[in-house]
C-alpha cells in the first residue's frame, strides 16, 4: 500500500545553512540571449528610476531648500503651517474628499448592484453612459456645472442665493468625475461572487435583505474599500475641477500650482507636494493590501451568479439607473451643447463659432493636435514599453537582485498624484546641470511623464495577461534553443494582444484627458488640449473651453469605438485557436 508522506519532511538539516554560507551556491552561466534580456531589463529599470524615482527624490530635497537653493531644514514646513490660508487647504482638501467618497460610493454601489444583481434591460447602454466621464478631462464636469448653475447658468435660479463656485461645485463635479472609477471596481467586486452561497441561503429561506447583509456586503467588502480609496485619492489630488469651479476655495492641488507657477516658491510647493503624497501613499498601501486579500476570494470552482427577474425590484433599480444616466447625459450634454451656442447666455443659435474662432483662428487648435500626438505616442511606444518590461520581469531569468526593485518602481506610480509627479518633473528637469535638461519643454517629456503617470494600471494589466499564459513556454523555447525574443513575438504578443490593446487604449484616453502632471510641463509649442481648457477658462473664454472639451470627449469616444472594432476583428481572426 502506498503511504501518504508525513506532513513534516524535508527538514532543514543542521549545519546545512552553514555549509551554504561557506560555499557560494553555483550560478548558471548566462547565454548571450539571456544577457540581452538582462540588459534590457536593467535599461527598463534605469528608465523608471530616472523618470519616476529621481523626480520624486528631488521634491524631497527641494522641500529642505530655500529659494536660493540653500539648505534650510524644515523651515519651509514651519512657514507653511504658519500661513493660515495654506494650512486651511489641508482641511479643505480632506473634508471635500471625504464627502465625495461618502456620496459616490453608495450611489455607485447601487448602480453596480443593479447592473450585476437585477434583470433590468439595457445594462450595456447604462454602463457605457455611466462610463462617459472617463473619456473627458475631469474638469468637463466643472465646466458643465458652470453652464448649468454658474453666474450665467440657465438653472441658476434653482440655487437661490447660493453660488456654485466653491466647495459645492467642487464636490458635485468630483462626484461625476469619480463615479465611473468607483463603478468599475464595484461591478468587478459584485461579479466575483459564488452563486452557490446564494442558493444555500435561498434554500434556508433567508430573506433578500438578509442575504444582502450576510453575503453580498461581506463579499463586496474589499471592492468597497478599494473603490473608496480610489475615489478619495482622486478627489484629493484632482487639479482641474477646483481650478475651474473652485473660486476662492483653496485645495492642496491648486495650492501647489499657485505656489510653483505663480509665486515660483519651489520650497513651499514641495512641502505641499509631500503633504499630498502622504495620505495618498497611505490609501495606496491599504488598497494594495486589500487587492491581495481579494484575489483569494474567488476559486476556480465558483459558479457565477445569475440574477432572477423580480418585478418590483427590477423596476426600482431601472428607475434609479436611468436617473443616474440622465444626470450623466445632462452633465456631458451641457458642455457639448454650450460649445455650439453662439453667445451664451444671450444668443442660443447653434454655430461653430467657438470651434472656428475660439480654437482654430485663435491658434489653439494646435493644442488638440498636440494632445492627439501625445496620446498616439503613449498608446504605441508606451504600451510597447510597459508590456515589454512586464514580459522581461515575469518571463526571463537573471539579474534576480534587480527584479524586485523594478517591480516596485512599476507599481509605485499609482500612489503618486499627477500634481506631485509633475512637480517632481519640473524640479528635476529644469536644473540646467541635469544632462536630461534638454528634454524640458519638449513633447518627449510629456510622453514620458504620461506613461509614468499611468504606468501601474497598464503594468498590472500586462502582468495579469502574462500570468495567464503557460509559464513553461519560455522553458520549452530554451530547450529548443530558441531565444526569448522569438517566442515573445511569435507567441507571447499574439496571445496577449487583447491585453496589449487594452493598455494602448487606456494610455491613449488618459493622455487625451490628463491635466494634472502635464500642466507643469508644457511649453508654448507643446500646449495640450486639456491644459488649453484650463487656460481658456481662466481667460474667460468658457465657450471655447467647452468646445475643446467636446473635441476631447469625441476623440476619446471614437478611439474607444475603434479599439472595440479592432478587438472584435481580432477575436474573429483568432477564434480558431482560442478555446474552441
Amino acid at each position: 500500500m502506498a503511504t501518504t508522506p508525513e506532513p513534516a519532511f524535508g527538514t532543514a538539516l543542521p549545519g546545512a545553512s552553514s555549509l551554504v554560507g561557506r560555499i557560494r551556491a553555483p550560478r548558471l552561466r548566462n547565454h548571450w540571449s539571456d544577457r540581452i534580456g538582462i540588459a534590457l531589463l536593467v535599461l527598463a529599470g534605469a528608465g523608471l528610476a530616472v523618470f519616476f524615482l529621481a523626480p520624486l527624490v528631488t521634491i524631497l530635497l527641494k522641500a529642505l531648500q530655500d529659494r536660493s537653493g540653500a539648505w534650510v531644514g524644515f523651515a519651509n514646513f514651519t512657514t507653511y503651517f504658519q500661513t493660515p490660508a495654506l494650512a486651511q487647504s489641508i482641511w479643505n482638501s480632506l473634508w471635500v474628499s471625504v464627502m465625495v467618497t461618502a456620496i459616490v460610493i453608495p450611489l455607485a454601489f447601487l448602480f453596480a448592484y443593479a447592473l450585476t444583481r437585477s434583470c433590468i434591460r439595457g445594462k450595456a447602454l447604462l454602463r457605457n453612459i455611466a462610463m462617459v466621464p472617463i473619456l473627458a478631462p475631469s474638469l468637463l464636469a466643472a465646466i458643465s456645472f458652470i453652464f448649468w448653475f454658474g453666474n450665467q447658468g440657465i438653472a441658476k435660479a434653482l440655487l437661490g442665493d447660493a453660488q456654485i463656485y466653491g466647495a459645492k461645485g467642487i464636490v458635485l463635479s468630483l462626484c461625476f468625475a469619480t463615479f465611473p472609477h468607483a463603478l468599475m471596481i464595484l461591478v468587478t467586486a459584485l461579479s466575483l461572487t459564488d452563486a452557490r452561497l446564494y442558493e444555500a441561503a435561498y434554500a434556508l429561506g433567508t430573506p433578500r435583505w438578509r442575504r444582502f447583509l450576510t453575503i453580498t456586503l461581506p463579499g463586496a467588502k474589499y471592492g468597497l474599500i478599494s473603490a473608496a480609496m480610489v475615489v478619495f485619492t482622486y478627489a484629493l489630488s484632482d487639479f482641474g475641477i477646483p481650478k475651474v469651479i473652485g473660486g476662492n476655495f483653496n485645495m492642496l492641488a491648486t495650492d501647489i500650482f499657485k505656489l510653483v507657477i505663480g509665486q515660483q516658491d519651489f520650497g513651499k510647493g514641495a512641502v505641499v507636494g509631500i503633504l499630498l503624497l502622504a495620505p495618498v501613499a497611505i490609501t495606496y498601501a491599504v488598497d494594495t493590501w486589500v487587492q491581495r486579500r481579494q484575489s483569494a476570494l474567488l476559486t476556480a470552482r465558483s459558479v457565477p451568479y445569475v440574477p432572477k427577474p423580480s418585478r418590483g425590484f427590477d423596476w426600482l433599480m431601472s428607475a434609479y439607473c436611468w436617473l443616474v444616466a440622465a444626470l450623466m447625459l445632462a452633465m456631458i450634454g451641457m458642455a457639448v451643447f454650450a460649445s455650439f451656442v453662439k453667445f451664451w447666455p444671450y444668443d442660443f443659435t447653434m454655430s461653430l463659432n467657438h470651434y472656428r474662432m475660439g480654437l482654430v483662428e485663435a491658434g489653439i487648435f494646435e493644442a488638440y493636435v498636440n494632445s492627439v500626438t501625445l496620446a498616439a505616442f503613449c498608446a504605441t511606444f508606451g504600451a510597447a514599453f510597459v508590456f515589454g518590461a512586464a514580459y522581461l520581469l515575469e518571463k526571463t531569468r537573471g539579474a534576480e537582485g534587480w527584479r524586485p526593485f523594478v517591480r516596485l518602481l512599476a507599481v509605485l506610480p499609482m500612489g503618486v498624484p499627477g500634481m506631485v509627479l509633475g512637480l517632481g518633473y519640473i524640479f528635476f528637469f529644469v536644473q540646467e546641470s541635469n544632462p536630461l535638461h534638454f528634454l524640458y519643454g519638449t513633447m518627449a517629456i510629456l510622453v514620458v511623464n504620461t506613461i509614468v503617470h499611468y504606468y501601474t494600471s497598464s503594468h498590472l494589466t500586462a502582468v495579469t495577461a502574462l500570468k495567464q499564459i503557460d509559464n513553461e513556454f519560455e522553458a520549452v523555447s530554451q530547450s529548443l534553443r530558441v531565444p526569448f525574443w522569438v517566442t515573445f513575438h511569435r507567441v507571447t504578443v499574439p496571445v496577449c494582444l487583447p491585453a496589449l490593446l487594452e493598455i494602448s487604449r487606456y494610455l491613449f484616453v488618459n493622455a487625451m484627458t490628463t491635466v494634472s502632471a502635464v500642466v507643469f510641463l508644457y511649453s508654448p509649442k507643446t500646449t495640450l488640449a486639456s491644459v488649453a481648457i484650463v487656460n481658456l477658462d481662466e481667460a474667460g473664454d468658457i465657450g471655447a473651453a467647452s468646445a475643446m472639451a467636446t473635441l476631447i470627449v469625441v476623440t476619446s469616444a471614437l478611439v474607444c469605438v475603434a479599439y472595440y472594432f479592432l478587438q472584435t476583428w481580432l477575436d474573429r481572426r483568432t477564434q480558431a485557436w482560442r478555446q474552441s
Binding site: 508522506p5 524535508g10 513553461e472 530547450s479 480558431a576
Partner: protein, 362 residues
C-alpha cells in the same frame, strides 16, 4: 550476461535548497544511454526539482551534472541538449500543430523543404499525420501530449525529459499512451527520464526506476527488483500492495511477529533487534498445499473478501498478531477453497519471500 550500456547522464552529489528547506539531499545517479528511467515518489519528494535541475531550469545548490561526458552543471538551458515535455504540454496555442513541431527547427535554419519533411515524419511517428494545419485547442489532451513529444524530439536531442506527461489525461488514454510513449522511446533509442508519482506507470514503462522520498533516493533498480526486492520499508510500502508488520529478532534466522514466530533469511545483526519490519507481498501468501507442518504457516480468520476480477483480496487475521494482513488469491484458489468471510484457513509465506528491514540504524 550482457554488458550494460555506458552511462549517458551522471549526477554527482546534487543538492538543492530553497532557503532553509532541503528539497534534494545528496543525489547521485547515472542514467544509461538509451534507457527509460523513471523518477518515482510521492508528491513533493523533489522529482520535478531534480528534472528541472537536469534541464537547467533550476540551479543545484551543489553537485555536478555530466551529460555525454560534458560537464553541464553550469550551462544555461540553451546550451544543453534535451527536449522537454511538461504536464501542461505547453503547446503554443496560436501556432498550428505543424508550426509547433517545427518551432525548434526554424531557429536552426533547417531549409524549408527539409523542415516540412521532418514535421510530416514526426507527425506520422506520433500517429497524427493529418493534424498539421490544426491548432492545439482542436486536439484532445492525449493528442496534444503526443504533439508535445513530437516537438521535443524534432531536433533529435540526446535526452528527453518528461514531467508527469500523462497525469492530466483520463485513465484509459493514459494506459494507451504509456505503451505508445514506451515504444516510441525504444524506436528512437533516446535516453529518457520520466517523472511520475504513479507506480503502475513506472513499473510498466521503465527500464529502471529511481524511487525517491524526502529529497533522497531510496532505491534504483529495474521494475522487477524494486517490486520484488525493495531496499527500504518505504519502497516496499510505496510500490505495490504490501504487508509490512512490526517484528523483533528471535535468534538466528527467526523473527517474532506478535506471538508468532517465522523463519526467514536475514542479516545476523538483526537477531536481537526489536525494531524490525517484516515485508511480504499479498500474492506471496499461499493456501494451496499448506498443512500444520508447513514452515511459516498459521491459522487465519478471513475477515473480508474483495473481488477484483482475476484475483480476490482477502483480509486475514492471524492468531496473536494485531495487524490484519492482506492476501491475494487467484480465482481458481478461491473456487477450490471456497473461502468466505468468517472461515478459518491455514496460510503460509515461503521463507524466501519474507524480507526483514531494520526500522532505523542500530
Amino acid at each position: 550476461m550482457s554488458v550494460s550500456p555506458p552511462d549517458y547522464l551522471v549526477l554527482e552529489h546534487v543538492r538543492k535548497e530553497f532557503g532553509s528547506f532541503v528539497a534534494l539531499g545528496d543525489v547521485s545517479l547515472s542514467v544509461r544511454a538509451g534507457e527509460l528511467l523513471c523518477f518515482l515518489g510521492p508528491s513533493g519528494c523533489g522529482k520535478t526539482t531534480l528534472l528541472r535541475i537536469i534541464a537547467g531550469l533550476e540551479t543545484q545548490s551543489a553537485g555536478r551534472i555530466i551529460q555525454g561526458g560534458r560537464d553541464i552543471s553550469l550551462l544555461p538551458p540553451m546550451k544543453r541538449d534535451y527536449g522537454i515535455v511538461f504536464q501542461s504540454y505547453a503547446l503554443f496555442p496560436n501556432l498550428t500543430i505543424a508550426q509547433n513541431v517545427a518551432y525548434g527547427l526554424v531557429n536552426r535554419r533547417v531549409p524549408r523543404a527539409e523542415r516540412d519533411r521532418r514535421v510530416a515524419e514526426l507527425l506520422t511517428l506520433v500517429g497524427l499525420p493529418d493534424s498539421g494545419p490544426k491548432y492545439p485547442a482542436q486536439l484532445s489532451g492525449g493528442q496534444q501530449q503526443r504533439i508535445a513529444i513530437a516537438r521535443a524530439i524534432a531536433t533529435s536531442p540526446g535526452l528527453m525529459l518528461l514531467d508527469e506527461p500523462l497525469s492530466a489525461l483520463d485513465a484509459r488514454v493514459r494506459v494507451r499512451l504509456r505503451g505508445e510513449i514506451r515504444s516510441l522511446q525504444q524506436r528512437l533509442a533516446v535516453t529518457t527520464i520520466l517523472v511520475t508519482h504513479d507506480q503502475e506507470e513506472a513499473l510498466t514503462m521503465a527500464d529502471r526506476i529511481v524511487v525517491m522520498n524526502h529529497g533522497a533516493i531510496e532505491q534504483v533498480g529495474t521494475p522487477f527488483e524494486v517490486y520484488r526486492n525493495p531496499a527500504t520499508p518505504f519502497v516496499a510500502d510505496f510500490v505495490g500492495k504490501t504487508n509490512l508488520l512490526p517484528a523483533a529478532g528471535a535468534g538466528e534466522g527467526r523473527v517474532r511477529i506478535g506471538d508468532q514466530r517465522f523463519a526467514c533469511e536475514f542479516d545476523g545483526a538483526f537477531a536481537k533487534r526489536t525494531d524490525l519490519k517484516v515485508f511480504f507481498r499479498p500474492e506471496d501468501v499461499q493456501v494451496r498445499g499448506v498443512g500444520g507442518e508447513t514452515p511459516n504457516s498459521a491459522a487465519a480468520v478471513v475477515q473480508g473478501l474483495e473481488f477484483l476480477g482475476s484475483y480476490s483480496r482477502l483480509t486475514l487475521r492471524l492468531n496473536g498478531i494485531d495487524q490484519a494482513l492482506i492476501a491475494d488469491l487467484s480465482v481458481n484458489d478461491l473456487a477450490e477453497f471456497r473461502v468466505k468471510p468468517g472461515d478459518t484457513l491455514r496460510v503460509a509465506v515461503p521463507v524466501d519471500r519474507l524480507r526483514v528491514f531494520a526500522a532505523g540504524p542500530e
